[in-house]
């Protein structure tokens, strides 16, 4: 949106194609910039647990600022969806729209829809409305305000109501769920590990965050139960059955194993997966489905959206959490070893040191 672009003839077709070329990148950008807010708050909230032991005023202060990130992640999610579409001009409109959505009933879903709409509207205003050198400066200031106003009104009159009643419906359904339905839900959720933290996992993540924003914690319970299963299971397989893995893979597994428990990233499994996509995916999904079913069946919930080590403080049932991770990892490990024993890899060289990417 520099000054030159307005004075050139506009190639509408090419501009439009460019605009709608990769719609999901915007969603992923929103998630990417939202996550640090959750991480900061999640880690800080962990320290508020100390206030139960000693009631120094410092821990109370921590309790006050620790939740700020959690109250702002939805606005920033919308802001960066819009930023990804419209550049700098879209950031503030996205923030305002998402903040309005979040505080007026439509929550995370409203922020998602509003962020997209306001981003596209802003960029369409700025690129396609012809300006001359006198009106250009004014239009550059006025257009984002106009798009923000239009989308906020749209949220107010059209979107907020139905989305709010939809979330209430989901909340009521989740509240009435029993053990077998929970296990089924968990099993389905486990399938999200099929791409190891890629787009499918993140799509499930969007649902999870939407549920969290409306006060439903069970999806986060399922998410933490399955998230570390693939890396733990695959690394365990490499350590228990070294003859089936290359030297590079074994070294990587040894280094990564402790990190799997601390950090909670499914992506840690990737260096092992890229050498052997099919077997690793089958093993990981099998384990994740089991872990999800165990967690869902016993109604595991997580009240603060944080992955990895700090999550142990916020689950409603620690033994179930441990059981779900352990059972899932063991299933992944056993399936992996069986698959490699029954269907050995071609061109397998146990002394190959280079085959694992180095992440850490």
């Amino acid at each position: 949106m520099t000054s030159e672009t307005h004075n050139e003839a506009i190639d509408y077709r090419a501009e439009l194609e460019d605009l709608f070329a990769s719609p999901f990148v915007h969603l992923k950008t929103g998630i990417s910039y939202m996550l640090p807010f959750i991480m900061i708050s999640g880690i800080l909230v962990m320290f508020t647990q100390f206030s139960q032991i000693s009631d120094a005023s410092m821990w109370k202060a921590v309790g006050e600022f620790a939740f700020i990130g959690l109250s702002f992640f939805v606005p920033f999610f919308g802001a960066f969806i819009s930023y990804s579409i419209a550049g700098k001009a879209g950031l503030a409109p996205g923030f305002v729209v998402a903040y309005y959505a979040n505080s007026n009933g439509s929550g995370y879903l409203g922020a998602l829809v509003g962020g997209y709409l306001v981003g596209y509207l802003t960029v369409i205003f700025l690129r396609f409305v012809r300006t001359n050198k006198y009106t250009e400066g004014i239009w550059g200031v006025f257009a984002p305000a106009l798009s923000t106003g239009i989308i906020c009104l749209l949220l107010h009159y059209v979107i907020n109501g139905p989305v709010a009643s939809f979330s209430e419906m989901i909340t009521a359904w989740v509240d009435g769920i029993d053990h077998s339905q929970g296990a089924l839900l968990g099993g389905i959720y486990g399938l999200s590990n099929v791409d190891f933290g890629g787009p499918i996992s993140k799509a499930f993540g969007v649902v999870t965050m939407a549920a969290y924003a409306s006060g439903i914690y069970i999806f986060h319970g399922l998410a933490i139960a399955i998230i570390a299963v693939p890396p733990i299971g695959l690394c365990l397989a490499a350590l228990l059955s070294p003859t089936l893995f290359t030297k590079g893979e074994r070294n990587y597994s040894r280094k990564t194993m402790p990190l799997c428990f601390i950090s909670g990233f499914t992506e840690l499994a990737l260096p092992l997966v890229f050498n052997d996509i099919i077997r690793c995916t089958i093993a990981s999904v099998a384990g994740s489905v089991v872990a999800g079913a165990v967690a869902g069946g016993f109604g595991l919930e997580l009240s603060v959206p944080i992955m990895g080590l700090p999550s142990w403080f916020f689950v409603n049932n620690v033994p179930v959490y441990a059981l779900s991770i352990a059972s899932g990892s063991i299933v992944t490990c056993v399936v992996m070893i069986l698959l490699r024993k029954l269907f050995p890899r071609k061109d397998f060289d146990p002394d190959d040191e280079e085959s694992a990417f180095d992440l850490i």
């Binding site: 990148v25 992923k28 998630i31 990233f265 260096p271 992440l359």
Partner: protein, 103 residues
């Protein structure tokens, strides 16, 4: 030839680093000079300098999320590839990049 590789992935943890490492290895094997910019929270590579952008023959965006400050590369030959595709097909991506630079 001089190549700038800019990677950006969702969590800034795994894909961006792996992709940059794999592409750099392949490019250096083919005798090119490579400058990396890994756009992640924990990355220590920093930004490419204006001089490097000036000298670069071609720029590769391997992205899953929006590349920050794209306007720095205006006027350069830029190849945009989704990061997953680049990772699965490192050699093909490098072929495309060389073809673009030769145009």
């Amino acid at each position: 030839m001089n190549i700038i590789i800019v990677t950006a992935c969702l969590a800034g943890v795994a894909h961006s680093k792996m992709c940059a490492a794999a592409l750099t290895k392949e490019a250096e094997r083919r005798g090119h000079t490579v400058w990396n910019e890994i756009q992640s929270d924990s990355s220590r590579t920093g930004k490419v300098t204006p001089e490097q952008i000036e000298q670069a023959d071609v720029v590769l965006f391997a992205y899953a999320v929006a590349i920050m400050e794209k306007e720095r590369f205006r006027g350069k030959k830029v190849l945009k590839v989704p990061i997953e595709k680049a990772l699965r097909n490192v050699k093909g991506t490098m072929d495309k990049l060389e073809a673009l630079a030769a145009e």
